[in-house]
Subunit: 403 residues, 2 copies
């Protein structure tokens, strides 16, 4: 049987997940074809990707960049690549008629609309964008169910859960156990949290990642987001999603079944593995990403400390409360982390800012992506003001605050 | 949907696995009905099981015991229980028309023929009898394939593998990793092996089991048998089955897939769990056998030392060579362990006796259960003589040796 050829569109092709996806595609030319790319602001990378992959469609952020690319493509004889731009261009990539699989890897709420449109267009979507599930998970998963198409998680934890879930039916799941590295402050006393520096917080023990997600790992907010993502992806109540600290980040997550059996997944810590899994599901194909099982020595686990890491507790509360609460959680976290990274607020201010923003948000159900984006903007404004109060700058009333 | 009612026959109902099976059946009366029992030599236990479960058929070892039971059943008003005996009686239980699931849990080669007949009669068979797979695995699994019925492993390791295999297809399996507690002599220097006492060897760190299997765990021969069982059950070459020492016996086994993902299964160490899994497969049902995942702390692993534990190496060699080699491995081990338990040979004589018996056996394919039993008897005679030589008793030529 000839392998199924996946025709892939990537939202966020010049980011980390986008580049890893292209690296996977590179290894299996008989399996994967790149039909459309939505790049970020890195013009040079976008040009090189187009030259290498010859997609039918390339979208870039600004119209000016699009013009430059069109000229360069013409010069390079790349006639088959149509260049579009902006949010509309991203949606064109996400819904490209030739694509059957869309990798959603644009960071932030910018990827929301295009991802939703991809699902609505009946594409199989591999989700690496956190906001798709944290902020708009109910809308996106409901649409995927309507389409009868899978949403495949491209992150190590949910991908692990997806694999373990193959050992039974959803009704047979007792609990999902997400593992957490615990971040760099697992053993730091709470009393020292106020004086944690940016440099310390950026020093993640097991994964090398972007700055925001590294800080989110240090506060355990990232694990909180993952709890919400698990609830959305697997249609399970937060009471059935637990977190277990596992400093080696070897076991990526586990599923406990009603009969008392637990299945756990582990592998090397390489994002290409969950990407490959999603791109080939329900098949598995040979890779060179071998975990040396024979060299396995020690795996350590401990329960998370929700008092020391209130962000995790806030995530449970937000998903329980519903509505815009999870949207606010994500939006306020982005603002608070940015403020911490620029030195405006302390490490222990992050959960305080988020808690206030979540409290101020609504719990009514959000009926559309537009409503999600409104709630997101509202929470950002609120969090920004809250940051300003911490930094003792002049308090500015909400109506005139700057996002 | 009403649950499927399993109608169960148990071969070895008064043994440990048999009693655990009845304990599982007791917990789910709406799921399981006991239709036939083949008991061992414990007359009282057989009587009580018949009174409690009212099977259509009960088989007991001797004709004399059968007579006693018939009289007692009559006296107790148990008119519906037919009593049979001997090997023929066991086969009657294994092929009982009312049974759809047969638990094969008679220890030793005594269970071979009845298990084979159960498979041939189209029953789903749960295999707890080691010899079924070590000595007659090729015949029994070939017959199960012909019947299109599953052979479900009732032991923690292969049951774990069976669960992990649900995460992919057999062609996608890179390796099976069987975990081993390492037994009580994991950290004992090789130089002390000659002076190991029976008492020390019977002191297994994690599982409470019968004497032979406890010694087999101390020599790692039990893990060797499990390697062979895995090859048979999952139709995989020994080169793809590895052993990893894991002293806590928490992770019961693992499967590594070609893409680099590894799935591991863990649970409480309670035989009722694999029994329940087999009895309800492909469903899972709620049990009270909860592993406290939140209390998980440390899991340790290390590679096995095949020089210190030559039995494991012998098992790999026997299954590679094929034919009667695995039969001889099992038969000679039973003789050698019995000799060790009665103080006739030393702990380090066990692998020597087995190695010689395996060398003396044939590697031609065994075409029937009768041929397996012949090879078994031959290997026992050989091993018995070999024991006698160790104990410095008068050497008796093979033709007149006593089994």
């Amino acid at each position: 049987m000839a392998p199924v050829m996946r025709r892939i569109a990537i939202l966020g092709s010049t980011g980390s997940i986008g580049r890893s996806t292209l690296s996977v595609a590179e290894s299996y030319p008989e399996r994967f074809q790149i039909v459309a790319l939505a790049a970020g602001r890195n013009l040079e990378a976008a040009f090189e990707q187009a030259r290498r992959w010859r997609p039918h469609l390339l979208s870039i952020v600004s119209e000016a960049d699009a013009e430059v690319l069109r000229a360069r493509f013409k010069q390079a004889g790349l006639n088959g690549v149509e260049v579009v731009c902006g949010a509309a261009g991203t949606v064109q990539v996400a819904t490209h008629a030739e694509a059957d699989f869309v990798v959603s890897a644009i960071v932030g709420v910018a990827g929301l609309e295009a991802t939703y449109e991809a699902v609505k267009a009946g594409k199989i979507v591999g989700v690496a964008n956190k906001e798709c599930l944290v902020a708009a998970g109910e809308l996106i998963t409901a649409e995927a169910r309507r389409q009868g198409k899978p949403l495949l998680p491209i992150d190590s934890e949910h991908n692990a859960v997806h694999q373990c879930l193959r050992g039974g039916r959803m009704e047979e799941v007792e609990r999902i156990w997400l593992t957490a590295s615990g971040g760099p402050f697992l053993n730091t006393p709470r009393s020292e949290f106020a004086s944690i520096t940016v440099e310390q917080a950026l020093n993640h023990p097991t994964w090398k990642m972007g700055k925001r997600i590294t800080i989110d790992s240090a506060t355990l907010m990232n694990k909180g987001f993952e709890v919400i993502e698990a609830c959305r992806l697997f249609h399970i109540s937060p009471a059935k999603v637990e977190v277990l600290v596992h400093p080696q980040s070897t076991v990526h997550s586990m599923v406990e079944f009603v009969d008392g059996s637990i299945l756990a997944q582990f592998s090397v810590t390489d994002m290409r593995l969950p990407i490959l899994y999603a791109l080939t599901y329900p098949e598995r194909i040979q890779s060179d990403m071998r975990f040396p099982v024979g060299n396995l020595r020690h795996l350590d686990f401990s329960p998370p400390d929700m008092d020391k890491f209130p962000c995790l507790r806030l995530a449970y509360e937000a998903v329980e409360a519903g509505g815009a609460k999870a949207v606010a959680l994500n939006a306020a976290d982005e603002i608070a982390v940015a403020a911490f990274l620029e030195g405006s607020v302390g490490f222990d201010d992050i959960p305080r800012i988020i808690e206030d923003a979540v409290s101020a948000s609504n719990s009514g159900k959000l009926q559309s992506i537009a409503k999600v984006l409104e709630a997101d903007a509202e929470a950002r404004r609120y969090a920004q003001e809250r940051v300003l109060r911490v930094t003792n700058k002049t308090f500015r009333p909400r109506a005139t605050s700057v996002v």
